[in-house]
Symmetry: C2
Subunit: 124 residues, 2 copies
DNA sequence: TAACTGTACTATTCTTATTAGTACAGTTAT
DNA sequence: ATAACTGTACTAATAAGAATAGTACAGTTA
C-alpha cells in the first residue's frame, strides 16, 4: 500500500489523487498494476470509503486508471493518458509562468530556477 | 475603483488579495496611491466589509500596502516589498517547475513555454 | 455460497468561509 | 466641536463545502 501523509488545507480526495497520480506518472506503479481496493485504502488511511471512491473516480476521468466493477481498479497504460498528462502539465506550467512574469521574474531567472530544480531532482 | 469578477472556488478574500496584488506589482497602482476604503470596496463588490478588511490585512503583512488608522490604506513603495515579492514568486515558480518535471515536462519544453508566454505577454 | 470488488445513493456531522452587527479610536473638513 | 470619514477589533449567526456514516446493488472470484 502507498504511504501518505495527509495534511494541509486541501481536500483529502485531492491530496490522495495527487499522490496516486504522482506514483503512476513517475512509474512507481506499473501499467495494469492493481490498485488497493477502495475499502482497503480507506481503512489504512482511516478515512471514509466515499472519499477514496471520489479519488478513484477523478483518476479514472483523467485516464490514469481504469476500473472493472467486481474486479478492481488498475493503472492505465501510458499510451492512454500520456498526451493528456503532458497537456495538463503544460497548461499548469503556462499559468505558473504567467504568474511569475507578473511578479517580475525575468526569463533568465526562470531558466535558472529550472536548472536548479532539475539538477536537484537528479540527485541521489 | 478596481473592477473584479469574483468567481471560482477560492475564498473571496484571497481572490481580492490576488487581484489587488496584481495591480500593485504591475504598477497599475502607483506608490503611495490611496486604496478605496474598506467599506467602499465592500459596497461596490457587494461583499462583507470584514472580507475586505481581511484582504487589506493580508496585503499589509506581505508589505504591499500600509494602513494609517483614520486616514486610509496606501500602496507601499517598491523598495519596501520588491525583494519579498521576488522571493515569493521564485518559491512558487520552483514548486511549479517541480510539478511540471514530475509530469514529464522536459527542460526544453519548459523554456519553450516560457518563451511563448513571455512573447504573448508582450503583445498589444 | 461466501467474500471480495466497484458503484451509487441519502443523511448527518464538521469545518471553514462568509456574513451580520457593533464598537472604538484616529483623521479631516466644516 | 461636530459630522463624516478612516482602519481596526471583536462576537455571533449563517452558508457552503468536505468528510463521514450507513446502506444497497451488481459483477467477480475461489
Amino acid at each position: 500500500m502507498f504511504s501518505l501523509r495527509l495534511q494541509g488545507g486541501l481536500p483529502l480526495s485531492e491530496q490522495l489523487e495527487a499522490r496516486i497520480a504522482e506514483l503512476i506518472i513517475s512509474g512507481e506503479m506499473a501499467e495494469n498494476e492493481k490498485l488497493p481496493a477502495v475499502r482497503e485504502v480507506a481503512k489504512e488511511l482511516t478515512i471514509n470509503p466515499n472519499t477514496v471512491q471520489k479519488t478513484y473516480r477523478q483518476l479514472e476521468q483523467r485516464g490514469l486508471i481504469y476500473s472493472l466493477p467486481g474486479k478492481g481498479s488498475y493503472v492505465a497504460e501510458r499510451s492512454q493518458y500520456s498526451s493528456a498528462v503532458l497537456k495538463r502539465a503544460t497548461e499548469e506550467f503556462s499559468r505558473a509562468v504567467g504568474d511569475a512574469a507578473k511578479s517580475g521574474l525575468t526569463k533568465e531567472i526562470m531558466t535558472a530556477v529550472i536548472d536548479a530544480v532539475i539538477n536537484k531532482e537528479g540527485e541521489i
